[in-house]
Subunit: 156 residues, 2 copies
DNA sequence: CCTGAAATTTCGAGCCG
DNA sequence: CGGCTCGAAATTTCAGG
């Protein structure tokens, strides 16, 4: 959704919820001197407006059996085949995101696999589409990860 | 954290919570024929074990003023300077993640900026470290994004 | 893993600008 | 009408077993 009319209360709610989706609404209410029900209503509105896309639980991939994380860049032969590649990527549950990009690659995706052999298997058996070629960047380590900052100046 | 001893209840909880961090514990309880308090205890244990890393609210970046998303790959002159680059990246709040990679780049990061001019400003003013060179891939569109699948077979 | 109680979330009704 | 408060029912959280 494009930008909406936010007031400073919306900003505070988004800031507080960003890092902790289960932060008690009454805590937010006390910090903003407003009723818990009003906070609840604001959050519903932000959700139905598409500003809040969802509440996700971040799970350690290694703890659930994914030792390998990789980026895959696609260089397409035929630049009209984006949708075909995306359809194939959607069918592979280990692919967690997919972007259309400019620069070295046309499509750029991220994938989790059980191990390097599993990654290779996915690339060879499920990503050899005959539509172009791929390059793989394996991640040794995710050094940090954090949400986008909520900055009220961005909205003025 | 490395892999733990999960039972099928843990798996179910992680599956259900993954897409909806605010799913009522009592709903999970009813679907698993167990008390709400027991679900609560399991979730606490999964959190303190580092399996659950946190509960995040996913916010549409465009709605809070970020029109540009980009990947930045670093090719370092001196491969021992990883930590120095990471320290600089951490100071830039618009940088949302950072990986050590093998392949074309040594370090690979993702960044959100207000617009292309803002992205260029960050790259020129804050990422010209004299430690190597960078390549930028701009994302036109995030086609999809989803959590890693929780698959019990991965844990056997 | 359960019970039970206090705090919190959720939702409908009503109030006020 | 839109945004808030109040109050009741459902849920979360925590202590104790």
């Amino acid at each position: 959704m494009p930008r909406q009319h936010f007031d400073s209360l919306d900003i505070k709610i988004l800031e507080m919820l960003s890092n902790n989706a289960r932060k008690p609404f009454l805590e937010i209410a006390r910090e903003t001197h407003i009723s818990g029900a009003a906070i609840h209503q604001r959050i519903q509105k932000l959700t139905s407006a598409g500003v809040i896309l969802g509440f996700r639980t971040e799970i350690d991939p290694a703890a659930v059996g994914y030792q390998t994380c990789a980026y895959i860049g696609f260089i397409l032969n035929d630049p009209t085949k984006f949708d075909e590649v995306v359809a194939r990527l959607r069918e592979i549950p280990e692919v967690v995101d997919c972007h259309f990009t400019t620069g070295t690659y046309d499509i750029f995706a991220r994938i989790y696999a059980r191990n390097n052999a599993h990654l290779l298997e996915i690339i060879h058996k499920r990503l050899s589409l005959g539509l172009g070629r791929t390059e793989t960047l394996i991640s040794f380590k995710e050094v940090f990860k954090r949400p986008v900052p909520i900055v009220s100046e961005n909205l003025e």
